[in-house]
């Protein structure tokens, strides 16, 4: 067993050796520009890109013409939301999203609010789930788009996308889904699931960083968006810029592997997650698993350890690579906006850690991790005035705290 153990699979994943192998030639001898039409270097690159497009389309139930390559999900999100709003400004300026989105969606919405759009932020239930009924109630005459996450990156809750998509289609509203965490982990079929636009990212599915794609539906309805970058008119005019051929090949290979191993990977991650949670919950009191226990990403376990502060716990499990939520917000001391939206109090949000298990995680890793977490929590509770007060029978909610902020 190599230390530290990587348990942050929602932040990023290692590149699968099969993916790396597929990419290698496109860094070396097959280095052509996929847009070069006058020689074999270009034709070879174009062929490789076409193959990748098919592999991605196959995984998500799309046609290859519906795949627009991007640098990753953040770009896909910006292109989808801003591009649709710009295209359909005549219909209206109302967007529906949720409070538990990734920052890339929330900040894109905030940007559009400054430009005169109105945004409705749906509140999830305590497990992070948003329902089709909520979406139906929020849709107005001038609603252009519903934009929401398929599977939450912090707590793993999987939204009822098919039902929500049906509502959107019935009401003639575009449906953009952030599929970053869901694709390759759970079955995704943009046709049956009524998705119009969906972003995904290579590095979350054992592919390379810096490459992703946006699915843009071509039929029923034909979705049109305005490009957010001007240039050579690549990707059917929706995303200019020379295609990152090795990256795209890697993304395609990652999708092919994910399609082949989807069930096996999911069963593996679920077994590890359950093993971990069983061990931890058996040894520690005042410990809860956040998110939806029924509709959850296979490899995601977000756990609140009451009366222990998260940052000190991460310091205590020094042989584990874990995080207290989203990597994109871990620089801030604010508790997670996702847990807050689920009604988890700030004191418990400060006590929450995300454990991510994936393809390369072993049972041995999980056993070691569980032991290290259990001993660190026990040690920190010995240090915790809150745990001591609770054991003495004090109701912490009745205490007058002396805090300046």
């Amino acid at each position: 067993m190599e230390l530290p153990i990587y348990l942050d699979y929602q932040a990023t994943t290692p590149v699968d050796p099969r993916v790396l192998e597929a990419m290698m030639p496109y860094f070396t001898h097959a280095f052509g520009n996929a847009a070069s039409r006058s020689h074999s270097f270009g034709w070879d690159a174009e062929g490789a890109v076409d193959k990748a497009r098919k592999q991605i389309a196959s995984l998500i139930g799309a046609s290859s013409k519906e795949i627009i390559f991007t640098s990753g999900s953040t770009e896909g999100i910006n292109l989808a939301i801003k591009g649709a709003v710009e295209m359909h400004g005549a219909k209206g300026k109302h967007i529906i999203t949720t409070l538990v989105e990734h920052k890339a969606v929330l900040d894109t919405c905030k940007h559009l609010e400054k430009q005169g759009c109105e945004v409705t932020y749906l509140e999830p239930d305590s497990t992070g789930l948003v329902t089709a009924e909520q979406v139906a109630e929020a849709i107005r005459e001038d609603t252009v788009m519903v934009a929401m996450i398929w599977a939450n990156n912090e707590i793993g809750t999987v939204n009822p996308i098919r039902e929500i998509g049906a509502v959107c289609h019935e009401r003639g509203v575009l449906f953009f889904v952030d599929g970053t965490q869901a694709v390759g982990k759970i079955p995704v079929d943009v046709g049956a699931d009524n998705v119009d636009l969906m972003c995904l990212s290579g590095h979350k599915i054992y592919g390379p960083k810096g490459v992703g794609c946006l699915y843009v539906r071509r039929r029923n309805p034909r979705v049109r968006i305005v490009a957010q970058m001007d240039g050579g008119g690549h990707e059917r005019g929706m995303r200019s810029g020379t295609i990152n051929v090795p990256g795209v090949v890697g993304l395609g290979a990652a999708c092919a592997v994910a399609e082949e191993d989807l069930e096996k990977d999911a069963a593996h991650s679920i077994a590890l997650r359950e093993r971990f949670e069983e061990k931890v919950l058996a040894e520690l009191d005042y410990t809860t698993v956040n998110g939806n226990h029924e509709h959850r990403l296979p490899g995601c376990s977000n756990v609140s350890f009451c009366y222990v502060e998260g940052e000190s716990l991460i310091m205590g499990v020094k042989d584990l690579a874990v995080s207290s939520g989203s990597a994109c917000t871990s620089a801030s001391l604010e508790p997670s906006h996702v847990l807050r939206a689920c009604g988890v109090g700030d004191e418990l949000a400060h006590s929450s850690i995300r454990f991510g298990f994936g393809r390369m995680t072993t049972e041995e890793d999980v056993d070691f991790a569980a032991e290290q977490v259990i001993s660190a929590v026990k040690r920190l509770r010995e240090l915790s005035p809150l745990y001591e007060m609770v054991l003495e029978g004090v109701d912490l909610s009745t205490v007058q705290w002396q805090a300046e902020h």
Binding site: E309, G345, L386, Q402
Partner: protein, 130 residues
């Protein structure tokens, strides 16, 4: 974020962890911070004459908060009460090389010392009146 060696040392080997009898007349208790802010420190002193003969702490908070309170107990033990009041958060920041984002931990530790001493003084003045 990388922690300084001293913070790591206090985190791994915290000094003076525990509790004193808060009902005892010569024990002062300070509890500062709030769970929703992610920091709560409890610092206690035992005073004989005008000298702090023992100090204990328990902290819910990040590594820097634990280190700040651990260091505070180490520093005040053996000091006269009035000397302990002179300890400032900047001395804690310097000793532990805390980054700007962790300065509030040192402020909390200073507050905890002052709060424990205030509690002790309150108790002893109540005792005088009785």
């Amino acid at each position: 974020m990388a922690y300084s060696d001293k913070v790591v040392d206090h985190y791994n080997n915290p000094r003076n962890v525990g509790s004193l009898d808060k009902d005892s007349e010569n024990v002062g208790t300070g509890v500062v911070g709030a769970p929703e802010c992610g920091d709560v420190m409890k610092l206690q002193i035992e005073v004989e004459g005008d000298t702090i003969v023992d100090a204990k702490f328990k902290t819910f908070g990040c590594g820097s908060a634990i280190a700040s309170s651990s260091l505070a107990t180490e520093w005040i033990k053996g000091k006269k009460v009035d000397e302990a009041l002179e300890i400032t958060n900047t001395e804690i920041v310097e000793e532990l090389s805390l980054p700007p984002v962790k300065i509030h931990c040192s402020v909390l530790a200073e507050d905890a010392i002052k709060s424990a001493i205030a509690d002790y003084k309150q108790k002893s003045s109540d005792g005088d009146e009785a």
